[in-house]
């Protein structure tokens, strides 16, 4: 026992020296990470159990679950949750279908493909707030481009004040969001398409498969990993939508386009209520984790099949 212990001790000191040096080198990065991710997260959770309105001039006091209770008893959170969930389902569906179509088109060989690819991806490079502001002016009923085109083409809705009623405001938000984010789906799916080897398509053709059959039996299953990545990213960021709503409607008209992140921003920066804001953040994180876990589960089970 004694010898083994001393042997172990020697070995420890040799390996340990290297290891300690390794930790030393990694320490700044670890401290940095803790400071910018772990600390705010923990601080936020702590805050969510406090009454803490930072410009009230009063010190924070323990609130128990009051902030969480308020989330589910006031008349703000649940409508906003419904808006957010509805928007997420519709926007992700639209963006995925259109993104897939774009990716399939861009995967074909044609003249000027490089140029078209670059052009398609431009919207994704525009900051969201900027594009939302542009869309807002395009939806202006008097001087905007949308109604101008509708009028020129003698289409219905040419005299709509888009941001002045619930459904049309949502349509405008969806357009702005999809315009910016569809290219992201297209990029990811295009990458997925490009790793599918060409010879299996050849084999399918020889076996007499039609275009639709090839698409549903070959392309879609082989695209599944890329599709899942695109879906997870898009679902989470749709669920946390903020900038478009902030820039285009401010949650209006009335409260009809209120979403969770907007509510959260408001709690922090308009109400300076770090307790309530913290509680909303925690709930948002939990919902986001559940969504991510659900996707991973679906992804795994389908891999097995």
């Amino acid at each position: 026992m004694a010898t083994r212990a001393s042997q172990g001790g020697r070995q420890y000191s040799l390996v340990g020296r290297d290891r300690r040096f390794g930790y030393l080198l990694a320490a700044p990065a670890i401290v940095m990470l803790l400071a910018i991710t772990a600390y705010p997260l923990v601080y936020n959770v702590w805050n969510s159990f406090q009454h803490n309105v930072i410009n009230s001039g009063l010190p924070p006091t323990f609130a128990g679950g009051a902030n969480y209770q308020r989330i589910f008893t006031d008349n703000q959170f649940l409508p906003a949750l419904a808006h957010t969930a509805g928007f997420t389902v519709v926007s992700v569906a639209v963006e995925t279908v259109v993104g897939l179509a774009l990716a399939l088109a861009l995967n074909r060989k044609f003249r000027g493909r490089g140029l078209v690819r670059a052009a398609v991806f431009i919207p994704w490079a525009v900051p969201t707030v900027v594009s939302a502001q542009l869309w807002k002016s395009m939806f202006d009923p008097q001087n905007g481009w949308v109604n101008y085109v509708l009028t020129a083409l003698h289409l219905p809705l040419a005299h709509t004040t888009w941001l002045a009623s619930s459904w049309t405001a949502w349509a405008a938000i969806l357009a702005a969001d999809a315009w910016r984010n569809t290219p992201f789906v297209a990029i990811v799916l295009l990458a997925g398409l490009q790793v599918i080897p060409g010879d299996i398509y050849e084999a399918a053709r020889i076996d007499g498969a039609g275009a639709w059959q090839t698409f549903t039996r070959l392309t879609l299953p082989l695209l599944r990993p890329a599709l899942m990545v695109a879906l997870i990213f898009r679902t989470l960021s749709s669920f946390l939508i903020f900038d478009v709503v902030y820039a285009m409607t401010g949650g209006g008209p009335g409260t009809s386009t209120n979403v969770l992140s907007y509510l959260n921003w408001q709690a922090f920066f308009v109400y300076s209520d770090y307790g309530y804001g913290g509680a909303i953040s925690v709930v948002l994180v939990v919902i986001a984790l559940v969504i991510a876990a659900a996707y991973v589960r679906v992804f795994r089970s389908e891999q097995v099949l």
Binding site: N55, G57, Q76, T161, G252, G254, S256
Partner: protein, 443 residues
Amino acid sequence: MTTWSGHARRQQPGRSRMSKQRAAVMAVAIGTVASLAAAGCSSSGGGTGKQVPASAKQTIVFATQGLGAEGTATQAAVKAFEKSHRNIKVTILTLSPTSDVAYQQLTQRFTAGSPTPDVITSDVIWPVTFARPGWLADMSKFKPDTSAFFPGQMATGMYKGGIYAIPWFINAEGLYYRTDLIKTPPTTTAQVFQDARAAMKADPKLKEGLAFEGDKYEGAVTAFQSFGGQIASSNLSNINTPANKAVLTMMFDAVHKFHVAPTAVSTWEESNVQSAWLSGQTPFALNWPYIFALSQGSNPAYPAVKDKTGWIPFPNPAGQPQASLGGDDLVMNAKSTHQAAAWEFIKYLTSDQAQIARAIAAGDPPAVKSAYTAKLYATAPYFKQEQAVFNTATPRPVTPVYTQISTQLQTMISSVLSGQASPSAALSTTAPTVKQLQATAGG
């Protein structure tokens, strides 16, 4: 152009359980700080460090927004101040030009307990919000001449017997009218609508009769107030009044019944109103004074409105016009150790000479009444007309929970203008929440 804050975007039912306790604690805390300051115990009242006398060599930090002409005017004022006060240097800390971002920047510095900046440019709706937690110095110890300023703006700095802000430049919302289309300025709201419809009939080039900002943001509140909405602090315990219902109905009617304002106004901000006015598509427009300078300017020139611009307080159904007040105040950090020098700087910025220089260079209307002189009119004659609007300037509620209350009002106005709620329904859902919020502020 001048700011008046577009920052409070929406609402939330308040918490009133703590209001009494909170009010008591607050009153004691603020009372203590105020009495310490008044008694001259300046050494440690409210956590203030050792004060540097005005005559010592020192540097003070001035936090301010302002790009372009305003920024240049500020730098010129700082240079002139340093020339007359050789021992004091002024460093400018530039705040974000976006009102709500600037508000957050300041809140962060205050909560961190920073002794700088010493002097801060503050939107007229912020001083009491900053004063409640004890972040601002009570300047009544310097005995400012409160009668020198327009009364509406002076009120924005008064809180629990202290003076927490000195007006820097004023801003108020008034009704622009085309002097070529409207021969005599209207004196009643009904007349505004009549004249607007008559003008639209006579001139098919006009796209609308009246432009105002009704988007769901701070501007909707100022428009509501300019139209005659009664939202002074004393009204907040019950805003569900016949007068307010009449104003909301009038705003709705302007769009949906008389069709003088386009449905688009429920999504318009000042910039949209500005382009509608400058392009000559409307005979009436509600907007801030900077439009006057633009309309009369020659680089760029707007021929549709140049020399055809008149500006009056919005005729009010109650008979007493109340132009919604905007503009900027100067406030002092409670933690500043250079308060004496900071006061010298504030005194300089609000001197006639500095006020006139800024008005001419940047178009910012002086907050000091005595600055409206022949010298000012010689360069910018429109300031003569503007004075009439400023005299009726009415502050939005002066309360530490203004941003919260504003979000409630924005939702209310937005739901009425978009036809989602009737004026009476909107008022009856908003009034209790506003009352509750105001109660958390301790009255």
